[in-house]
Symmetry: C2
Subunit: 283 residues, 2 copies
């Protein structure tokens, strides 16, 4: 218990130190630009669509999410296999330094072990405020409750560990994308701080949200991820390419669901992260 | 040390029991057919190509493979970060039951922990011989020494844990595909046992290899995975689809490398697994 507390404290100190250089770097020139942000987000779309397709390879596999499944077999009565799997896998990845990079945020920071690898000098591109912007709990809940049922078919094939591993890849990709809102906001702020300062000082969320909203851009992103779900989720056969008129059932994950995943959730959540970050940007 | 020995023995018993039903089932009708095998292998191609593209997102990241990198920081002087990462991640996945399914084979069986999930009744489709057909060491060596340098660019971005996680997904997909040769051989054997019995009794590897070789089929598979590398590895933009005449540098992993990965390695290794399985099929 005591050692767990020490780990948690050390983890928080590590997290804080990994982003707190932002204050020092404010105004300095780093690699973070609107162009680098756009490139990162576009590449992450591929990772997200791949991860959803790989999760959809397995059926729902409900026992992996049911705490009573492990209740008889372990001492962790209130935890599901996926809960335990993610906790323990994140602990291995933390030990190997995954969360030294502030782009990566764990779902179970309280259960982190200390990293055992030498420190790596990741660029400090964020304001210290970034450490307190965290929507992991919401991502976890929405992924499992709302989106997972829409990308998987009913059924149980017993592959619970590969299923949990596929879920973790989805969760990590979605979390990285959504929490990257901190970088998006920082890049936008650096581009034109005067546009944001008044709204930040007035703590005006609506004004900030308005400043951050570009509907035509969002529409293009939604249509592009839908297209990616078609291209990556088709059955590739020699001498034949995907056809827009194809029936949706040919795709491994429904492109319309991916369109809505972005439109109803990923984009709004990323913007919420941007607003929360900007509200603390002048602290 | 003693507990590790107990774990190893238990793991071996578990592995053996998970496949030894094959002897009982010989001749019984199960879901394993040439059609189901073909379907599985085709779907695995997508997983393999996705995993290579996701690994190629990170540069080489040489420190992850260099035992001296961890030498100063841990007691495991002779192990690299990737060695440790895969061992510990496999242990988590073993505990959650991954290797109850004989389709999945760990790279570090000696370091497995016992599963803590209830047993799942996976179909026993293989002869007991399957338990002794294992080319994991070769897969590990060839992946890191020969193929990884061809799918990654030089460089070091410090993301060693995500890199190791991406390597593990590649390794698991490649291992599942190559070791699926046991199922391929079983399906072929059930289709026409008389075609194989003479060569098996004579322990004639060359004759078996000849019986298992269909060059036109292999050629189609190679061309299809090359096509998948183009389709899945393109930069998808709205209103534009992949074009065969595109320059290879547009793809996230070189399609020609994927063609050779299959032609020079994955297909021959799968056939080797088939031969080794068949040689034991009448034991």
């Amino acid at each position: 218990m005591a050692s767990r507390l020490v780990f948690s404290v050390c983890w928080f100190v590590l997290l804080l130190s990994s982003v707190c250089g932002g204050r020092r770097l404010r105004g300095e020139s780093t690699a973070l630009t609107l162009e680098s942000v756009r490139k990162f987000l576009t590449r992450e779309e591929d990772s997200i669509v791949f991860s959803l397709i790989e999760r959809a390879k397995y059926p729902r596999n409900a026992p992996a999410y049911d705490p009573s499944y492990l209740g008889r077999a372990t001492k962790f009565h209130a935890l599901s296999l996926v809960d335990l799997f993610v906790r323990e896998t994140e602990a291995v990845q933390a030990k190997d330094g995954r969360y030294q990079n502030p782009v990566e945020i764990p779902f179970f920071p309280k259960h982190m072990t200390l990293t055992s690898v030498p420190p790596y000098n990741f660029p400090n591109e964020l304001h210290a405020a970034a450490a307190s912007v965290n929507v992991s709990n919401t991502i976890w809940r929405k992924y499992f409750d709302e989106w997972l049922p829409q990308i998987t078919s009913q059924g149980d094939d017993g592959n619970y560990a590969p299923t949990a591993a596929a879920d973790l890849v989805c969760l990590q990709a979605l979390s990285r994308r959504i929490h990257y809102g901190r970088y998006v906001a920082e890049a936008k702020y650096r581009e034109a701080p005067q546009d944001y300062n008044t709204a930040i000082r007035a703590k005006d969320r609506d004004a900030l949200m308005k400043l951050l909203t570009f509907e035509s851009q969002e529409d293009a992103v939604k249509r592009r991820v839908e297209e990616k779900a078609k291209v990556f989720g088709q059955d590739v056969t020699l001498g034949k390419r995907v056809d827009d008129s194809s029936n949706a059932t040919n795709y491994k994950v429904d492109p319309v669901v991916v369109y809505r995943l972005y439109g109803d959730w990923v984009i709004p959540m990323t913007k919420m992260v941007q607003v929360e970050y900007l509200l603390r940007r002048l602290d």
